[in-house]
């Protein structure tokens, strides 16, 4: 994304968020977490932070800094080599495999590559999340319609993903992640494949989701978005957490643009 090709919206256009509930127990805790892969490569080293409910957090850093590893640890696609990852007080290392689906239903997850099924329509893609977790759930159409309304795609029900723009595809992925009304929303480089305007639209949407009460963690290396939003920033470098700032920026004041 480039500011020059996509003028920054005024601060008033950035959706308001609910204030993070710092007086409540944290919804996410990383306690001295390290992750080393079997080949010896260390993805993150001794990372500690807490996230209160309803917070909006950017995890920033260059490629390979460890942003995506944090997301993968949170959805327990990976487990920590050292330390503890807790979600709503539950230590994910102790979570039994059969309880993993319950954890993931509390979370909405979106990725850079959208992960939509090309042979299903927009509505079917969103409904898929309900059908595979709770096939008997009533008011399926209403739930799908509501999720698509939130992302502004209520008129694209019968369109296939290949007929949509990248931004619209990411909105469908967000709608699919929203149907379970998640308390935690994780986004791994959601604007990575999008043009600046579409990327900004997605960030606005995530801010709205946060405003509705979900805790949002967004891994990104999109400097403009982070600097415009002025939300909490966890900056990663070489697998370590180097900065944790409220209303932070992508780079520290005076830091050179790497």
């Amino acid at each position: 994304m480039s500011i020059s090709t996509s003028p920054a919206p005024p601060r008033s256009q950035v959706a308001e968020t609910t204030r993070p509930a710092r007086h409540e127990p944290p919804i996410i805790v990383f306690q001295n977490v390290s992750k080393t892969y079997p080949n010896g490569a260390a993805a993150i080293r001794d990372v500690s932070f807490t996230i209160p409910p309803r917070d909006f957090v950017f995890v920033v850093g260059a490629s390979g800094a460890g942003k995506s590893t944090i997301i993968r640890l949170l959805i327990r696609e990976e487990t920590a080599t050292k330390g503890h990852v807790l979600v709503e007080g539950q230590d994910l290392a102790r979570l039994r495999r059969r309880h993993l689906p319950r954890l993931r239903r509390k979370m909405g997850i979106v990725f850079q590559d959208f992960k939509l099924l090309p042979n299903l329509t927009v509505a079917q893609n969103v409904a898929f999340a309900i059908q595979v977790t709770d096939p008997g759930r009533s008011h399926l159409k209403e739930k799908v319609g509501e999720a698509l309304y939130i992302v502004g795609l209520e008129d694209k029900l019968n369109t296939f993903p290949t007929e949509l723009s990248g931004g619209e595809q990411q909105r469908v992925a967000i709608a699919r992640a929203l149907v379970h009304r998640p308390r935690i929303f994780l986004a791994d480089e959601p604007t990575g494949n999008l043009d600046p305007d579409a990327g900004w639209g997605i960030v606005q949407l995530l801010l709205q989701i946060n405003h509705r009460g979900a805790t949002v963690v967004m891994a990104t290396h999109n400097r403009e978005v982070v600097d415009l939003c002025r939300r909490r920033v966890l900056a990663m470098e070489g697998g370590g957490l180097i900065r944790d700032e409220q209303e932070g920026q992508y780079l520290k004041e005076g830091e050179a643009n790497l």
Binding site: P101, R102, I109, K115, L117, V132, T133, G136
Partner: protein
């Protein structure tokens, strides 16, 4: 989770899998049908062979103990009762000299020779005997050794009709047939299992993104597995039905007198078909479980 919509979803996805991957599904259907055909034919041949060998075994399990001419009827009955009480003896019956002659005349065609002997004053040369029906062919040798020590028996080298060469040979054939059949069925089953596993693994690879999404949105492992298990089961059962159809068709075409080819009875043929269908379903499900395991591991 409501089971009816879940079942509907699982059936729909399983059928979609088969239709979407119809090339692979058809190839595995064909190969599994051929392997099950081989298994069914092997079972039929083994059963037919076993039937023949059982007849041989039943004949070889009868031991004729020849009695000396001088012993009294009471002594012969005592010996009969004594042998009948042995655990390995199923039944014992006494056959007098006249019955032996009648038997020899009817089965061996010796009526003329016996008549000449009797009219020329030679009398009936055949001894009375006790016919022992043993429970097991393996007991024949032991009973023969036990009875041979009795002084009530016909003097000479042939106190019984025990043939020490026949029994081990029959036992050997029975063992070889059972072992060979079991190995053949096991090999064919393993081949079918591998084919179904590869087929399901391919289907899982084609659907890897769908599986990934299912897991990300919180579907349970079993919910991901069931469509694949059902797919394997459907392929296994259809293959078994085709194989059974071909086997029954061939059996009827080459059968005669109320039996199918190789003397296999209709009841046995139906049992083999049911066995193949059950085997196809089990192999299909198990192959699918193995095939999908890798996709669920991550």
């Amino acid at each position: 989770m409501n089971p009816i919509p879940a079942l509907r979803f699982v059936v729909r996805v399983a059928l979609q899998n088969i239709v979407r991957n119809r090339g692979i599904a058809f190839a595995s259907l064909l190969t599994v049908t051929l392997t099950l055909l081989g298994a069914g034919a092997a079972v039929g041949v083994v059963f037919a062979l076993d039937k023949v060998l059982q007849q041989e075994e039943s004949q070889a399990s009868v031991l004729k103990v020849f009695m000396a001419d001088h012993i009294s009827y009471a002594s012969a009955l005592n010996l009969e009762h004594s042998l009948a009480s042995e655990p390995s003896v199923q039944a014992a019956s006494f056959e007098n000299k006249d019955q032996a002659a009648a038997q020899a005349s009817s089965t061996l065609g010796l009526g003329g020779a016996l008549h000449i002997l009797e009219t020329s004053g030679g009398g009936n040369p055949l001894p009375a005997s006790i016919n022992l029906h043993l429970k097991n062919i393996a007991a024949v040798t032991a009973i023969n050794n036990q009875v041979s020590t009795s002084d009530l028996l016909f003097p000479g080298p042939h106190q019984t009709d025990y043939n020490k060469d026949v029994i081990p040979r029959v036992e050997h054939y029975i063992l070889a047939a059972q072992l060979g059949g079991a190995i053949l069925v096991a090999v064919v089953g393993a081949v079918a299992l591998v084919i179904i596993t590869i087929s399901v693994r391919t289907a899982a690879f084609v659907r890897r993104q769908e599986i990934e999404i299912m897991k990300l949105v919180g579907a349970t492992d079993w919910f991901v597995r069931w469509p694949f298990i059902l797919e394997g089961m459907i392929l296994g059962v259809i293959s078994a039905l085709l194989a059974s159809g071909v086997l029954l068709g061939v059996g009827v075409a080459f059968g005669s007198g109320g039996s199918l080819a190789l003397g296999v009875g209709v009841r046995l043929a139906v049992l083999i078909s049911l066995g193949l269908i059950l085997g196809g379903a089990v192999l299909g499900s198990f192959g699918s479980l193995v095939g999908i395991r890798r996709s669920l591991a991550t």
